[in-house]
């Protein structure tokens, strides 16, 4: 499994109006690319285009992986809503992908992944019995279970409280190492902490932002990180 460089080039319009103009976005191969921007600017649309999901927008351009087509079997998807099926156990949710493909799920690996996210003791419970943070950890284990080189994260941590969010960032960064990750987020701190590459999408186009010094995962109390996230915020507010 080699992590490909995903490139999105093109433009999108929705109902005749431009959603985003011509842009060219290349994801960090084997690393984290963070896509920031105000709501409604098309961040999620870009992610969904890569995922091959319905967007309601008309996209003209192309999406490639190392210059060729991106096979759907190369990607995994995780959203803000954990999308755990309430009628399945935690373990059953982790093993969902294989079953949906009509394959036999590797139970031992699913259990290992659940213990990696610290939920081994909860595998028989229903999702409703878990906290929001725990549910997102199950969703992370389900995403890892897919074992795909490209992982698309659509604001997966944004509904969590600050402490749980930082913990989830640590956990996800460690477990997703070596994969090409696209993280759509509206949180500058998150982007500054996790990004190998950081982009801001705005109505007039895409801008690549300077990455804070040091390799991610960056320490939350690093002054350079705090400066970088402040600069990102200023940029988002149109004051940089």
């Amino acid at each position: 499994m080699s992590a490909p460089a995903i490139r999105v080039s093109g433009q999108a319009e929705i109902g005749g109006a431009t959603l985003f103009g011509p842009l060219d976005l290349t994801l960090e191969p084997g690393g984290w690319t963070c896509l920031l921007g105000p709501s409604g600017v098309g961040k999620s649309t870009i992610l969904r285009l890569i995922a091959g999901l319905d967007t309601g927008a008309r996209f003209t351009g192309q999406i490639t992986a190392d210059g060729g087509p991106l096979p759907p079997s190369h990607l995994a998807y995780m959203a803000q809503d954990d999308l755990l099926l309430p009628w399945r156990s935690v373990l059953g949710n982790v093993m969902l992908g294989a079953e949906l493909r009509g394959q036999k799920a590797e139970r031992a690996r699913a259990e290992k992944l659940l213990s990696d996210v610290g939920l081994a003791a909860h595998s028989g419970k229903r999702p409703a019995a878990l906290s929001g943070g725990q549910r997102q950890r199950v969703a992370l284990a389900r995403t890892l279970m897919e074992d795909r080189p490209v992982v698309l994260l659509d604001e997966p941590f944004s509904a969590l409280d600050a402490r749980t969010r930082a913990d989830m960032q640590d956990l996800a960064f460690g477990l997703l190492a070596g994969r090409s990750v696209l993280l759509v987020t509206h949180d500058p701190a998150e982007a500054a902490r996790l990004g190998h590459r950081i982009f801001v999408l705005e109505s007039h186009g895409l801008a690549q932002m300077p990455t804070p010094p040091g390799a991610p995962l960056r320490a939350v109390d690093d002054p350079a990180l705090l400066t970088a996230q402040a600069q990102l915020l200023q940029h988002l507010r149109g004051k940089a």
């Binding site: 995922a51 759907p72 999308l83 099926l85 009628w87 009509g102 229903r126 409703a128």
Partner: protein, 246 residues
């Protein structure tokens, strides 16, 4: 649970009291409105007769409920999985609702005779649409996020239907079945009124014709109890079904 039973008993007692008060105060003759005691006596004296006819009606209702529900479930699955079926069957389905089922009862009796099947078919007809439409709506309202996830997981259409859309639609199906449990007896009794030699509906007509109003009320009470029991049983089963969805 105990409190609920107490509440139900209390309400029943109040209603019976009002009933008796109405009869006593308005001085109604028993051939217009017999009091609850008289009806209870009629029930006791004719227990065997009423029991037999209740059994007949219960069989009709049960058969109608099972067949109608299965038919509704299969139709909803067809509609949900095939655009062609939606275009062809859906207008027909709506059309069947434009026809009052009551109006069909004489025709069904003509075709299927005085026996069990014309009543079963009435019950089927009356519950088919609610079951189909409740389950179909559920199948068409799968949360979009689940479907997105299934798509990125490259789900086969079959697995997506059985592992995501159907379980997500079970609460919808449950509300259809709850309705069906109270509608099915209506269908069966209409069938019995139009033409039958057995069943509570038949017994009520017979008793009415012979001015045995207390017997008629006794049959009515049994019919109400039968419907309530069915409703409770189906509701319980549905609750069990949907408890897993929470």
């Amino acid at each position: 649970m105990g409190a609920r039973i107490l509440n139900a008993l209390f309400v029943t007692a109040v209603l019976l009291g009002l009933w008796q008060a109405l009869v006593t105060l308005a001085d109604l003759p028993p051939f217009i409105l017999p009091g609850p005691v008289r009806v209870a006596q009629a029930l006791w004296n004719n227990a065997g007769l009423i029991g037999w006819h209740a059994l007949v009606t219960f069989s009709e209702v049960l058969a109608g409920l099972v067949l109608g529900s299965l038919l509704g479930i299969v139709t909803a699955l067809q509609l949900a999985t095939s655009g062609l079926a939606r275009r062809l069957i859906r207008p027909a389905l709506v059309l069947t609702q434009a026809l009052p089922v009551f109006a069909l009862a004489p025709i069904l009796t003509l075709w299927l005779g005085y026996g069990l099947w014309s009543k079963v078919l009435m019950a089927v007809l009356i519950i088919y649409f609610p079951v189909t439409s409740a389950f179909f709506d559920g199948l068409m309202q799968t949360p979009r996020g689940y479907l997105d996830l299934a798509q990125t997981m490259q789900a086969t259409p079959r697995q997506r239907l059985w592992r995501i859309r159907v379980p997500a639609a079970l609460p919808g199906l449950a509300s259809g079945l709850r309705l069906a449990a109270v509608y099915a007896p209506i269908g069966a009794v209409i069938g019995e009124w139009v033409g039958a030699s057995n069943g509570l509906g038949y017994l009520m007509l017979l008793a009415n014709g012979r001015a045995k109003i207390d017997l008629m009320f006794a049959a009515l009470v049994v019919l109400a109890c039968l419907t309530l029991t069915l409703h409770v049983l189906v509701s319980r089963a549905c609750d069990r079904l949907t408890a897993r969805m929470v």
